[in-house]
Symmetry: C2
Subunit: 452 residues, 2 copies
Amino acid sequence: MTRVLAAEATWTGARFERGVRITLGDDGRIAAVGREAVADEVRLDGRALLPGFVNAHSHAFQRGLRGKGEHFPAGAGSFWTWREAMYALVAELDAERMYELVLAAYREMLAAGITTVGEFHYLHHGPPADADAAGEGDFALDDVVLRAAKDAGIRLVLLQAYYAQGGIGKPLSAAQRRFRTASPEVYWRQFDRLAERLDPATQTLGCVVHSVRAATPDELAAVASEARRRGLVLHMHLEEQRLELEDCRAAYGRGPTELALERGAVDERFTSVHATHTSRAAAERLFSAGATVCICPTTEANLGDGIAALHEFDDVAGGAARLALGTDSNARISMLEELRWLEYVQRLARERRGVLRAAESEAGDVAGRLLAIATAGGARALGVAAGILAPGSLADFVSVDLTAPALAGVDVDDLAAALAFGCGDEVLVETHVGGRRVAGGARLENAGAVAR
Amino acid sequence: MTRVLAAEATWTGARFERGVRITLGDDGRIAAVGREAVADEVRLDGRALLPGFVNAHSHAFQRGLRGKGEHFPAGAGSFWTWREAMYALVAELDAERMYELVLAAYREMLAAGITTVGEFHYLHHGPPADADAAGEGDFALDDVVLRAAKDAGIRLVLLQAYYAQGGIGKPLSAAQRRFRTASPEVYWRQFDRLAERLDPATQTLGCVVHSVRAATPDELAAVASEARRRGLVLHMHLEEQRLELEDCRAAYGRGPTELALERGAVDERFTSVHATHTSRAAAERLFSAGATVCICPTTEANLGDGIAALHEFDDVAGGAARLALGTDSNARISMLEELRWLEYVQRLARERRGVLRAAESEAGDVAGRLLAIATAGGARALGVAAGILAPGSLADFVSVDLTAPALAGVDVDDLAAALAFGCGDEVLVETHVGGRRVAGGARLENAGAVAR
C-alpha cells in the first residue's frame, strides 16, 4: 500500500517547496522523495507537509500542575518553591493518575503537531507503599509511560533517568525516593528490562543523568561510559538555575557543564538541557564536542530561569550550533509558541532582530532555522530517524492547512516565517506517526482511499 | 428577548466563580448579574464566560506583512529596516486591498476572543493619485476601516491619528504622505466627518498623536487640548525605540514622555503605547496622572524593542498601575499569548516568578491580573463600557470550552491560571459582540432558542 503525497508545499529541510512528492512505504517510513508526478498520487491542495515536531524534553506528569503554583503571596516565587508544588503532585500520584496525565499530555502534543517525545523520566516508582516493598523500588511508572505513549499513538524516546541523591552530598527526601535508582547496576538492570517491553515500531530508549544534584561525579562517569559503549543518547539538566552552579562550584571546584565535560559525558550524542547560565567558554566546548543544547522557552519563562546568552556563542550566532526544543513542564503544549519565543526572547534581550540566523542562508533566514531546530534538531538529540522528510526516514509528519485564516494570503516563499511567527496550533490539522493518522481530521486518509 | 446565561464558571472581574447568572438585555448590554437560578435560564455546562478581550493597540493593515520582513542578510535587522518593509506594503495598498487585510485581521481577532479593537489608524489616504487629487488627501481609508469592522462584526474604537511630519523637523517622505493630516484644523474636520459615519451600536472615535516624530510639540498640545475638551481618549506611541528618545532629547532637551507630560497630553484618558524605554521617574508621573501603559508583547519581541523595566515601577509592582495589551503589528493575533508573555518576559529578565501580582490579592494572584489587563484594562484605555460582565456593560463576551483537552482536569479555582498560561485560542469557542454571535460555534444561541 504505497501512497504518494503531492501537497501544495513540502518542507525539504530548510524551507517549503512546491512540486515535491513524498512516497510513503508500507513499513512506516518514507520510501522516496521526488518531483515526478505520479498517476495515482494523492493531491493535497491547500495543504503543506511538515515533519512532525520533535519534543526533545518533556516531563509529561507535570501536566497535572497546569493552573497550579501560580500564586505568589508576599512576593515569594522561585524555581525552588515551584519544585515544592511539583513534589506535592508527585506525592499523590499513583499509577492510574500517572497514566491519565501522561496520556493527556501526549494527546495534546499530537494535536500540536508533535510526533516524537523525549520523555525525561525520573518518577519511576509507585506510591511509597509499593516503592518500599521492593528494596530497589518497583519501577512501575516506567511501564505506565510506555503504555500511555502507545495508547496515545506518539513516538517515544524514553529517556530513563539516573537519580541517586537529593542534592550534592544529600540523601533523597521522602518525595525524591520515588525517583531513585540505587546504583548504576540497578539502573542498567531496569534499563535492560525496559528494552524488552518497548513497542518496536514506535519506542526506543535513551539515557539520562538527572543533574549534578542527583548523581555523584563517579556515577555520572559510570553511566556516561556505559551509555557511550551502547551508542545511546545521554541527556542531562545543566545550569538552569544559578544556585546549581554555586553549589556545584562549592562542592567540586567547577561548574556543572565543566564537570560533565571532564567526566566524559559530552560527545555528539549528549544534550545539555537548558544551559541557561552556561558561560561562553563552557558553551563553546559543548558545541565543539558536537553536543546539543535543548532550550525550553515557555517553561524557562514560567520558572523565571533567566535568558541564555545564545547570541554570544559563536556557534549559535553563526548558525552551526546544535539546538533542540522541549515543552518540559507541559504547562503549555505548543511547539509553534516554543520556537518563536526561542528567537523572540533573544531579540528582546539583545534589542535586535534576526539573532538565530541559519548558517547556510545567505538571505539570513531565521524561521527556517527555527523550524529545523523544532524538527531535525530534536530528532538528532533523541537519536531517531525523524524530523526530516527524506528516503528512509520515519513517516512522521503533520499537515498544515494553508486555507486557515492565519495563513490566508501567505505565499509559499513566506510560509515558514508565517508559520513560525504568525500561527497557532489550529493550522496543524492532521498528525501522522509512522504513516498512521493519530490526530486531527481524516482528509489525507480519505484522499488516499479514494485514489486507490 | 431576555436571556439568562448560567455558565459553569463566570468571570467576575478578578476571578472565575461558579453559580453566576448573566442576564442579557435586548439593547446589546448586560441587564443584570446575579446568583438566583431562573426557570428558563440557559445552562452552559462545560463552558465558562469571560468578557471579550479588548485589543488596545492595532494596526490592522500590517496583517499584510505576516511572513515578510523576517530575513536578515548580513546581520541587518532592526526596527527601522522593518519599517521600510512596512512602507513598501503601504505603497502598494489601495482601498480594496486595505479592506481585505483589515477584514482578515478583525476576523482573526474575533476567533481569538477579541471583541473590541482600538485601531491606531494613520494610513488615511488612498494611493498617491487619489491622495494628491485633494489637497488635504482623500481620507478614503478611514471609511474602509469602519466598513471592514462593521462587516467583521467587531466593536471598533477608531483611534484617528494626527501625523504631520516625517520625523522631528523633517518633511513627510513619499510613503508617509498617505498618513498626513495637514494641520489640527484638517484633522478635526475629518474627525467630525467620521463621527457621522460610525455605526452607533459598535463604533466610537478616539484621538491619537502618532508620536513625537510625527507632530511638533505645539501640534501635540493643540490636539491634546481639544481631545480633553471633547472628553476623548488620547493615545500616543512613546519610547519604543532608544533612537526616538535620543532624537527627542537632542531636539527638545527632554524625552518623549516628559514632552507629553509638559504639553498637557497626560491624564486618566491618556495611553502611552509601548513605554519600553521609559524611565522610572517618567513612568511614575504617567501612572500618578492616571494614564495607561499599553504593552504589545509579541510585536515588541518581533521588533527587538527591548524589555520595559515594569518591575521597577512601584505602581506596576504594587498592582495599581493601569496596563493594557495590544496586538499591534498583528504578525500574530492571540491575546492569550500576549498576556502570558507580558508576565513571562518580566520573569525571564528578572529571574523571578510572579512579577505582575494583583494589588488586591493577598494570595499574590498573577493570572487574574493578566486577564483583567486584557479585558478591563483595554476597555479603560479605549473608553468603552466593556471588559467586565456587569449591569450596564456591553454584552461582549467569549465562551471558554472547559472540556477542551488543554483544560481537562482543571478546577474552577485554577481556571484563570490554566487559561492564562496553559491554553491556545482553540479553547475560545464562541464570541459575542453586543449580545450577537460573531465567531465560533452556535451552542449558546441554540441553547437560547431551545429554552424559549
